[in-house]
Amino acid sequence: MTVVHQITDPTRPGAVEDRPDEVPAEPDVAPAATKSIKRRRLGWPARIAGSVCALFFLAAVAAPLLTPFGPLEGDRSQRLLPFFSGGHLLGTDGQGRDVLSRIIWGARPSLLTGLIPVFVAGLVGTVLGLVAGLGTRRINSIVMRTLDVFYAFPAVLLAIAIAAALGSGTSNAIIALSVILIPPIARLAESEVARIKSADFMEAARVSGAGWLSISIRHVLPNAAPAIVVYCTALVGLSIVYAAGLGFLGLGVAPPNAEWGLMVNDLRQYTFSAPQISLVPAVVILIASVAFNVFGDGLRDLLDVRAEGK
C-alpha cells in the first residue's frame, strides 16, 4: 500500500514505506491456485474513495446539466453571499458568481491537467524504461544518469520553473508536470524490465529467434504493465494537487475561467470577510486528493502480486 506523496524514486530501498503487515518471505513462484478469489476485492475505504472519484468525473462530464449558473456568469450586487442563500448552495464569490457552479465546471480543467501529465509521463516513462532496460549497458547508463539529474531538483520547484519559462497556460502546465513525472515512472519501468529479463520465458523467446521489438512488446511489456499502471494510478492524486498548485500560482488556466487552484488564489483575499466561502475550493482539492490516493492505494493492494502472499 503506497500513496505517492512526492516525486521520489520508486525503486529505492525504503521507497515503499508501507507494506502489508508481515509479508512472509515466500518464494516468487508461490502456487497461484491456492489463492482464494474472494480476497481480491477492494476494501470499503477504497470503494468509497472510488465512488467519490467517479462523482468528480461525472460532475466534470455533466457540468452543463448539473449547474444552475454558468461558470462566468455573475451579478456584482450578489457578491459573497453566504452558503444556501438565493439558490447558491455554496454561496457566491467576489464577483457574484455561483461557487458551486464554478467548482463543477472547474473540475474539467482541474482533472484534465492532473490526468494528462500522468498519461503522457506513463507512456514516455515506459518507453524510456524499456529502452534502458533492454538496451546495452551504455544506453542504459545514458538514460538512467540523465534521469538522475531530475532527482536533484525539488520536483515542485522544477515544474514551476519550467511552466514559468514556457509561460502560463494549460498546455504548458501539462508539459511541466509531465516532465517531472517521467523520471520516477521510467525508473520503475526499468527495474521491472530488469526483473523480467532474467525470467526463463525470455530466454526461450530469445532462443526461438524473436526480435528485439517483438520481445519488448509481446513479452516484456505485458509483464511490466501492471506495476506501471498501478504506480501511475497512485500518481494521479499528486498530479491533481500539483496541477492545482500551478493554477494557484497563475501558471495554469487563465482567469476568469474556473479552475480549482485559480479559485483558491482568487478566494484567498476573502479569508476575513467570507471565511467559509474562501475555503471551498481548497477543501474540494483536499477531498479529491484524499479520494484519488485512497482509491489508488486500494487498487494497488488489489493488483499487487506481492500483497497476495499475505
Binding site: R19, A165, S278
Partner: protein, 314 residues
Amino acid sequence: MIRFLLRRIGLAVPTLLGVSIVIFVTIRIVPGDPVASLLGPTGSAEARERLTKDLGLDAPIPVQYVKWLGNVVQGDLGRSIAKQTDALPYVWEAFRNTLTLSIFAALVAILGGIALGVLAATRRGRVASGFSTAVSLFSISAPQYSVGLILIVYLSAGRGWFPSGGMRNPTGDSGFGDLLNHLWLPGISAALVPLGIIARMVRSSMLDALSADFVESLRARGIPEWKVRWHAFHNALPSVLTIAGLQVGYLLGGVIFVEIVFSWPGLGLVVFQSISQRDLPVIQAGVLVSALAFVVINLIVDALHGLMDPRIRR
C-alpha cells in the same frame, strides 16, 4: 569512511553539472527573442547585431553554456529584472528564511511521524493503529495550500490565536518567541506530508524489526516489552533517519505554497512574485539555490547514514 565520503562527493559533481544544464535549458526555452524585447520594435538591424554580440548570443550554444556556467560558479546568477539588483544576494536572504521554516517543519514532522508510526506498529489491529494509519494517509494527501488556508480561517482569522502571516511582528521585539509564534501555522502546514511519510516508514521499519529473531530471543529472556520495543526502535532508526533527512530537502523546495499562503518571506514567495513579474533570473537563481541545497542535504544524509550503518560503506 573518508573514501566513502569522497566517492559520494565525486558522484554529486556530474549531478550538479546536469542540474546546471537543465536550468540553462529553461533559460533558452523562454519564448520570444530577448534582443527584440530589449530593443523594441524600432531597433535597426545594425543595433540588433550589436546587442546580440554584446549579450553573447551570437556564440554557439555550448560556448554560451560554458560562459554562463563560469558566471554561476563565481556567484553571478544574473540581475533581477524587477529589483535591478544582483539575483544571488536577494535569493540568498530569502533562502535563509526558507531554511528556518523547513527546519522547524522537519522537527514537527520527525517527532510527530515517529510518534504516529510507533503507535501504528505497536498497537496493531486496534483502534489506535487504524487511527494512525488513517491520519498518516490523510496527511500525505493534504495539499499544503488547503491546510494552510484552513488553519488560517479556524485558528487565526476568526480566533486571533496565531498571526495569519509574516515572519515577525513589525512592532514586536522580533525575538525568538515572536518568531516561534509566526512559525506554528506554516510549520504545521508544511510538516503534514513529511509527517505522514515518516510515520509510514517508522511503522514498516518497526514491524520489520519486531519480527526479527533477536526480538524473539529478547522476549524469551523475559525482557520487559517496552525494552524490547526500544531495541526494535533502535534498529529501525537508521532507515528512518535517512527518510527524515531527505524530507528536509523536499521541504526546502516544497514549502513554496505555504510561504505564499502565509506571506513567509522565503524563497517560495520570492519565486511566486517573480513569476507575475516574469523576472526569470530570480526564478532560475531560486531553483538553482534550492537544487544545490537539495544535493548538499542528500550528501549529508548519505554521510550520516554511512556513519550509522557501516554496511552501506561499500
